[in-house]
Point group: C2
Chain length 79, copies 2
């Protein structure tokens, strides 16, 4: 069973890396690019024979380990 | 118009960072986690008044700028 956890900066948090990519693209002829924000994802394979509810376990991992709740948020997707 | 470009290592390429996260999770009580692979994504806002086909432009950016074709692959999604 595979899940994808998307971790992104909260909308209120500045993303200097994304801004740099955006201005670099604009100065290289991609003038229609309005904004870029970067994030990361984790593809997690869970052994369904492992006992507990796999989705609940991945959600716990996403919340407690993969995300910094001060500046980041996550979204969980089953693949 | 917003697109998300997912960039991940090709399946044949080792992902030591993901392996470290996986073994760390397993040693912290998440024994049912079988594998973890990490990737990144870019949320790109395109001004649709910019002229060219926005999807084709983002695909070109993904292929030529955001992805290292030797070890990475990308997937494009319209949000």
């Amino acid at each position: 069973m595979r899940f994808r956890v998307h971790v992104s900066l909260k909308p209120s948090v500045l993303d200097p890396q994304g801004q740099t990519i955006c201005s670099s693209l604009r100065s290289h002829g991609h003038g229609s690019i309005a904004a870029v924000r970067q994030g990361k994802f984790f593809d997690i394979d869970v052994d369904p024979a492992g006992g507990a509810d796999p989705k609940a376990e991945v959600e716990q991992i996403a919340r407690e380990v993969l995300t910094n709740p001060v500046i980041e948020e996550f979204r969980l997707e089953q693949l």
